[in-house]
């Protein structure tokens, strides 16, 4: 436990304290100067760009959350309730998880040859005569950004939902059927409520990952969009550390609010405790 405490203190708690401290510093072109001023926050909060970035990223995280939830829930449902052989279920589950252990940057750029103007999808559409012109919106657009997010992050929904579903007592299905419940009603009134903690955990992962994203927006939007974090990166490349730090603190606050909203809907700790 002592080594865990040491790592967390030195590399999580202390750095976050440094970010908060530096967010109050002054800076000039050459250095950052210790101070206690709200100037950086005023700069960040009065910039029109800031609101644009937050609205964009919250919108992206909602879209990603929606699609990863639908896909993740369906995939987990299939694996838990429809695959009879547990060895095959574990095998298929691993098929879903293996990409998680490979490079996200590579997985992201692997969309380029598919979605581009001369990419595979457009070539296929032109060849079959479905469209006359290549579809421009496929790449370097909000569409390609969301596709990449869903591609990268659905696994974070599948695993916790899979976990919750595995603990559901199968006799509940019989009970529901005996009580005259349709398949759809059983899903809505039995399965979904029992998966609440898994859904909440997955949602927390997806939302925080999108809000903290750096490279997907930058590459997949073709530079037309920026993320909150890529704006910080630009600040830091020009040595505006205190400005970036103030932005980081605001981002952390927004993320904490989003996570607590999710936790308000689902009390994850109570749910987890009751299932033990």
């Amino acid at each position: 436990m002592a080594p865990l405490l040491a790592v967390l203190l030195v590399f999580v708690v202390a750095p976050l304290a440094f970010v908060v401290a530096v967010s109050f510093f002054h800076y000039d072109n050459f250095a950052i100067i210790p101070a206690f001023s709200f100037e950086n926050y005023a700069d960040v909060l009065t910039a029109h760009l800031t609101y644009e970035l937050y609205v964009t990223m919250i919108w992206f995280s909602l879209l990603t959350w929606f699609f990863t939830l639908i896909i993740g829930f369906t995939v987990a449902y299939f694996l838990v309730f429809h695959v009879r052989n547990p060895l095959i279920a574990i095998g298929l589950f691993l098929v879903c998880t293996v990409p998680f252990w490979t490079s996200n940057v590579i997985r992201m750029i692997s969309w380029l040859p598919l979605l581009g103007k001369q990419g595979l999808i457009n070539s296929a559409l032109l060849a079959t005569g479905v469209t006359r012109q290549p579809l421009q919106f496929l790449l370097f657009s909000d569409f390609s950004v969301v596709v990449s997010y869903v591609h990268l992050f659905t696994i974070f929904m599948i695993v916790p939902i899979f976990n919750s579903m595995s603990r559901i007592d199968r006799t509940l299905f019989e009970a529901a059927a005996d009580a005259g419940s349709s398949r759809w009603q059983t899903l809505l009134h039995v399965v979904v409520p029992l998966c609440k903690s898994g859904i909440a955990l997955g949602s927390i992962f997806v939302v925080t990952l999108v809000m903290g994203d750096f490279y997907v927006v930058k590459v997949m939007s073709g530079g037309s969009r920026a993320s909150i974090v890529s704006a910080m990166y630009d600040d830091i490349s020009t040595l505006l550390f205190p400005h970036a730090a103030a932005n980081a603190v605001i981002l952390m606050i927004i993320v904490v609010i989003m996570v607590s909203l999710i936790l308000r809907v689902v009390d994850v700790r109570k749910e987890l405790a009751s299932q033990r």
């Binding site: 060895l87 990409p99 969309w111």
Partner: protein
């Protein structure tokens, strides 16, 4: 789920089709770049293939148009091994400690969660700033190592929680009754029982470090790790050489994943014979 007659309901086929589509969505793009990395020397970033060659792999090694890829690999692999070892050691120790309630346990747990969900780049900035303000030089083996642990440790701990949640403590008591010391109990009883979980933690430690980007960006000092190198290539390399690099690094990841999963499967098979392990992990 089966109907009374034992036949599969129509929903099985609908969901199976959905699952197949998801797997295609997951692997399709990757397979595309694997194929494209074998483009002929005149080939472009998109289909069609103009011949088949190993040209872009050769380009990768000779590095005429790319950066210091071999250097980046020579840093990323040792870093991943160090992170893996540290993640295993700290997660096992942490998992053991969290079996009992202790003062500050809840606070420590919250710190783990913060470490997991805090935006990686923000932690990276914090660590970078801390090293800068304390006058410490940033290196891949110091600041970046710590930064990556903030990503791998939460996963390692969550896995160990799950493993120790199913661990029967009477084995330890039995060993103690037979006169085993604390070290012996750990080495001869606990570690062998939780070994599959430890291998899983090692897999997460290695691969998450090897592919880590956001936390490493501001903390690796003047030299790049492999993901940072790949990132800089996405902005200035416009040839299939980047696909070749993607193929090589993904193949390497697959070897590591395959080795870890086979080791776990082998242990399970030895333990349960041919019978199926009932518990999930």
């Amino acid at each position: 789920m089966l109907t009374a007659a034992g036949r599969r309901p129509w929903t099985f086929y609908a969901l199976a089709a959905f699952f197949a589509l998801y797997v295609a969505f997951l692997y399709g793009p990757m397979i595309c770049i694997f194929i494209l990395s074998f483009q002929g020397p005149q080939g472009a970033l998109v289909f069609p293939m103009r011949g088949v060659s190993l040209h872009w792999f050769a380009e990768l090694v000779t590095q005429t148009e790319t950066g210091d890829i071999l250097g980046a690999i020579s840093r990323s692999i040792p870093l991943a091994i160090i992170v893996m070892a540290a993640t295993v050691a700290v997660s096992v120790a942490g998992g053991l400690a969290f079996r009992d309630r202790f003062r500050g346990g809840a606070a420590l747990f919250y710190a783990v969660i913060v470490s997991l969900v805090a935006p990686g780049y923000v932690l990276g900035i914090g660590i970078g700033l801390m090293f800068q303000l304390l006058g410490l030089p940033a290196h891949w083996y110091s600041s970046a190592l710590g930064a990556q642990l903030t990503w791998t440790l939460p996963f390692g701990l969550l896995i160990m929680f799950a493993v120790f949640g199913r661990f029967n403590r009477s084995y330890e008591e039995a060993a103690r009754d037979l006169g085993a010391g604390a070290g012996q109990i750990l080495r001869l009883v606990v570690i062998p029982i939780v070994l599959p979980g430890i291998i899983a933690v090692a897999l997460f430690g290695f691969t998450l470090s090897y592919d880590e980007f956001a936390r490493t960006l501001q903390t690796s000092g003047s030299t790049n790790t492999l993901p940072l190198e790949i990132w800089s290539m996405t902005t200035n390399v416009t040839s299939p050489v980047i696909y070749a690099l993607g193929t090589v690094t993904t193949a390497f990841s697959f070897i590591v994943i395959g080795a870890a999963l086979s080791a776990i499967a082998l242990i399970q098979r030895r333990r349960y014979g041919r019978a199926l392990p009932v518990g999930r992990h």
